[in-house]
Symmetry: C2
Subunit: 211 residues, 2 copies
């Protein structure tokens, strides 16, 4: 920041909130593994979060349980902010826990701690709820988060399905099947996308069992 | 799209909704005049829309009238989708109406017309409400839309305040003073930012009247 004199003049809650909003801008520079739909470049996490909010707004009718779509959208707007501090850990590269959860908890402490305390606590509670995915709202938010990259991988003809040579449809299903917990209808659609991707050679089929 | 066989298989409402969501992805490729906070590149409209949703969530307490913040956020997620078809018309380059309003109405017909009719009509009504800005919710949404680029211009030391050689603080205030209709508190903060920008030489002062 080239000058913070203005923030000192504003002071109080509002200055803390503006500092948080400027810090949040860094999410535009966190680059994900998948590409945007025209294939021209990789997606950043800020535009990904916008797209997920739109997914939730458009697809809420398919939630398996009644959801409060405003709570779902708040989770999706907030859910990846911790990547500013902790970075993105791509689903398709890791497959195992690598300490990311601890890094994200520490990042949440820092980021949400920038806000006035009752507001920071409310945002943090929303983020925790998304992470633990034990509510209907969080399960549907997670379903949107898993579904969107599937459509993007398909539209670019492979995408993150090709970053590991051994990656196949069974591994993809194991990474994304939690969509069914939020919406069996959207999971059925995802399975249709997978089958079409296999038919087109963009996603490897299940390995043939040894004879 | 490399293959649409899967969309034919899914069919019905859900296929239309997925087509819309993939079309919406193009908003990530609509480039605005202003830069992101680290100055590294210009902002795209999708990530801008995410940032505005976060602004509204964080700053809703400053709305001059009671607002339904969920409606405000929906407007902000949807408000710039028409730029996919109509392009972005930068506030700081135009200063006058150049037929953009008509282009955006036509774009709204196309885009929201991709959705199942009752859903498309609901989204279109939300977009119309933002455009006409005659409700408290829309006035606060507009205030967020005007405030965010001010903070980004300041943090990069000028930004779109420098795209026209004759541009000065009085012109900037005339473009952004509608912030006060949504929140006098946020307008006062914007005036503090402007004064600091003038003091730092990033925004020209008001012209001296001829003697």
């Amino acid at each position: 920041m080239k000058s913070s004199a203005w923030l000192d003049q504003i002071g109080g809650r509002l200055a803390d909130q503006m500092r948080f909003l400027l810090e949040a801008d860094r999410l535009k520079g966190v680059i994900r593994l998948n590409h945007i739909a025209d294939g021209s470049r990789r997606e950043n996490t800020a535009e990904h979060s916008w797209h997920l909010a739109l997914f939730a707004m458009v697809l809420s009718e398919y939630a398996i349980e009644p959801v409060d779509i405003w709570r779902v959208v708040q989770m999706l707007i907030l859910h990846d902010l911790v990547e500013i501090e902790a970075g993105d850990t791509p689903l398709h590269l890791t497959l195992t826990d690598t300490g990311q959860a601890e890094r994200e908890q520490a990042a949440a402490d820092i980021l949400f701690g920038m806000l006035p305390s009752e507001q920071g606590q409310a945002f943090r509670a929303m983020w925790d709820e998304f992470e633990t995915a034990e509510s209907a709202d969080a399960r549907f938010a997670k379903a949107c988060d898993r579904l969107q990259p599937i459509l993007l991988n398909h539209v670019v003809g492979g995408g993150t399905w090709n970053v590991r040579p051994d990656f196949n449809i069974e591994m993809e299903k194991s990474l994304t099947q939690r969509i069914a917990l939020g919406s069996p209808t959207l999971w059925a659609a995802a399975e249709t996308v997978f089958a079409d991707a296999v038919a087109n050679g963009w996603l490897k089929p299940a390995p043939t069992p040894a004879a």
